[in-house]
Amino acid sequence: MKVRISDDAAARACGADSIAAAFAQAGAAVERVSSWGMQWLEPLVEIEGVGYGSVTLDDVPAILGRRAKSIGPIEDHPFIARQTRLTFARAGKTRPLSLEDYAATGGWQGLVKAREIGPAAIVETVLQSGLRGRGGAGFPAGIKWKTVADAEGTRKYIVCNADEGDSGTFADRMVMEGDPFMLIEGMAIAGLAVGAGKGFVYIRSEYPHAVAKMEAAIRLCAHLIVPFEIEVRVGAGAYVCGEETSLLNSLEGKRGEVRAKPPLPAHKGLFGCPTAINNVLTLAAVPWILANGAQAYAAFGMGRSRGTKPIQLAGNIKHGGLFETAFGITLGELINDIGGGTASGRPVRAVQVGGPLGAYHPPADFHLPFDYEAFTEANGLIGHGGIVVFDESVNMAKQARFALEFCAIESCGKCTPCRLGSTRGVETLDRIIAGENVEANLALIADLSETMKFGSLCALGGFAPYPVMSAITHFPEDFVLREKP
């Protein structure tokens, strides 16, 4: 009897290693696989397709004796059955570092196809698929690749941005820990498309397990991607290095300060060479697109948001985890129908979409479809697809203050609106929270937000106003309650 248990960081943090050891001790053959993404059920144990959720050591004998209560066949679980998994097609099903499993589940077919059709056709395929940057900016990947392909230069680079610092996001981590060969394949295809011989994966140091998996995977498949080479580089705890130009500086061994654009990285990127820098999920989507065709991918989605988006349900949510679906699903469906509402059982009060620089939305916004443009129109952003749910106990003035405090901690210091604005903003919010001249100070915050939004060099200072102003706009009661008489 084969017992399958994930070795993903979330599963391990919930105790999967000791559960796996207990099954092994009891004589079962344990196979460590990637995670299904049903994180509220971790550690999740699978035996012949049937799942047992939130397993404790005490449950092990009953599961082996088939007396324990199961969640039924995992594939049929509504959380899984409702998804459209293209990027996460292998999630829960394969051993992350097994070349055999990868090849048996369609691995390398995108690369085979790419080698067959050549650079120009690869770029055209990605362009036709409508794939946009999954890191948050939503820039068409095909156009970026074409720019790099057309740029003059004997040395070009592929850089994978795996500096997934947004709270509420873990899809990049799950790809690297669960299906690393897919990301490598995507990078190799990108290298072929733009004429780059070398790729870097820049992974944040807070993800040591992802670093280990990627390094092992690269060693295992180096012979399959030659002449392309990939090297893992580890970040050093700076959130701003998720910004692409800051990341490039960091890779070069410099302070992670943002660069002014232009020049675009596509023209002058890493070490001044043309560089295609893409998020993990963008590159990970590429093998499927090459193997199945641009039209098949573009058939999913709505408007200008084509394909699928791995959405991460996080925070105070009952059914938290990874939910990949075509663009167009509404925020309300995601939180109530799929997520099951809050974990605490209290009503949802606010939802932050798109990380620490994303807006806070009230339940009145639950009709919004998950689509780049729809969220922009609603003064928000989908960012990297993280959704953090808060129940009614949240204090939105405190959340607004935290957004600016975080910006102050992580600002690279290059531009004034972000460096000074974040600190002055925290001070001003402290006065508002203390009830001092609330109206005048709120006006000051609105003014400061405008300055940061339009005057900052990158999204850190430029987007920090989103959580602040959305909190003030949608939850004004939290900013006036404590005004002194």
């Binding site: 960081a9 979330a10 050093a236 705890g237 890779l251 992670g256 620490p356 129940d391």
Partner: protein, 137 residues
């Protein structure tokens, strides 16, 4: 790798070797000292100011050693939504270990989360965090 010279030599051939070098120095010595900065700068043909600028930019590099074990407690929004702020008081009163804030461990649906070394912990509450700290001291 026992010396800074060894670490530098190991990474010297890489493109942009400074961060990998600093990571290894931090891991080997628990901090990046003034003397280390001097030696690395010399070897890479950089100024001391340049290396100092990089060391001081990143949260991971420390300028003084601290022998205490480090517990990184995630203080970001998703863990806030799951009650990490209630655990901060317990963390703050510790002196035998060092509690550092970290902004996201990517365990955002099973927080509050923490990391000790490479080991991860999820679904923390007061009792579990206290037990973890107890086990470290």
């Amino acid at each position: 790798m026992s010396s800074i010279a060894d670490i530098v030599a190991f990474h010297h051939h890489r493109e942009g070797p400074l961060l990998p070098i600093l990571h290894d120095v931090q891991a080997a010595f628990g901090h990046v000292s003034e003397a280390a900065i001097r030696e690395i700068a010399e070897a890479l043909n950089l100024t001391r100011a340049e290396v100092h600028g990089v060391v001081s930019f990143y949260h991971d590099f420390k300028n003084a050693p601290d022998p205490r074990l480090i517990l990184k407690l995630c203080r970001a929004e998703a863990c806030q939504a799951r009650g990490v702020d209630e655990l901060v008081a317990i963390a703050d009163e510790q002196t035998a270990i060092m509690v550092e804030p970290v902004y996201c461990l990517g365990l955002c649906s099973v927080g509050p989360a923490a990391m000790i070394g490479r080991k991860l912990f999820a679904r923390l509450d007061r009792a579990r965090l206290s037990a973890l700290i107890e086990a470290m001291t």
